[in-house]
Amino acid sequence: MIVGERKPLNQIRAMLEPYRKILILGCGECVSVCMAGGEKEVGVLASQLRMLYKKEKREIEIEEATLIRQCDREYIEPYLDKIYQADVILSMACGVGVQYVGEVAGERVIVLPAVDTKFYGANLDAGIWAERCAGCGNCILDKTAGICPIARCAKRLLNGPCGGSQGGKCEIDPEVECAWQLIYDRLKERGQLELLEDIVPTKNWKPSLSGGPRKVIREDVRP
């Protein structure tokens, strides 16, 4: 899932300064699961802002809504009336939702982000999310024992580990596991260490962000 983290209140407050009627718009998908921008977090942020404005004796109207997915037009459209009634939309979705609500609602609608989008990650335990995929557009997990060195090696090495791998940990932080140590250990366990003898050539980064904004088109499901 896409993992996000809510922005600090003072940052959100500064963005909202010119507006008097705010719609806080949550998203029911990834950011709900990672507890950054679902219905509950919309409630918490709305409550914080109401308290803040009450304390400052400012009359600001705050509306709350959470839709199923902010990255799909069909779920945004039923909320357009609500969206048009507000001065500003404070989206608690990932960066995709923030942009797409704006695209669907039209040029005049101002949509601001309340969440910092962090990474594609897994939920390791209650309250812990960790990066597992970098969306590089050309998956190599078949060659790396199912452990991604693009997302999990600080140097994105394809032929690791580097000299900074110490006792299974990465030199950037003693808490961070060396992805290449993990890959080595797993291949050894599987009796597939010979896979490491193949030198992986330089990665083509064109399918990744370096090739510009990406798009997937499936003609068979187009109208």
Binding site: S47, M51, L52, K54
Partner: protein, 136 residues
């Protein structure tokens, strides 16, 4: 400030705080009358939003009473509640309110005198902080 009568929302665990309150009542122990009480089956039910809403609506403080650590009827509801209280305090501090307006105490079983002491302590704390700046 002398005539400030605080309004405190008390969220009390059915198994410890309410039993303690009964004992205090039967023993005719006096305690300040500023608590508006909400019964929960376990403090594990207490959500950050319950705490925020109480303060948003004008409460001067929120007092949560749960079982002693290790004695929760639902094993760890009180531990979860302590963590949520910490989180709620951080959220309040972001708003510029005193995190101390939210307090959580452990009540060791049906001890009426301890119940009364906690209510007194909380009332004094909120009186020293003064009325909530959010008004009523």
């Amino acid at each position: 400030m002398g005539d400030f009568e605080p309004r405190i929302v008390g969220i009390f665990c059915h198994y410890c705080a309410l039993a303690a309150q009964d004992v205090a009542g039967k023993a005719r122990v006096n305690f300040p009358p500023h608590i508006r009480e909400v019964r929960v089956l376990c403090t594990g039910k207490v959500d950050v939003l319950h705490i925020l809403k109480a303060l948003e609506e004008g409460a001067d403080g929120v007092l949560i009473m749960g079982c002693k650590i290790g004695e929760c009827y639902f094993k760890e509801g009180n531990i979860k509640a302590f963590k949520r209280v910490d989180y709620a305090r951080k959220l309040l501090e972001e708003v510029g309110l005193e995190g101390e307006r939210v307090q959580m105490y452990e009540v060791p079983g049906p001890m009426g005198s301890r119940f009364a002491d906690i209510i007194t302590e909380m009332t004094e704390k909120i009186k020293s902080l003064g009325p909530s700046p959010l008004g009523r």
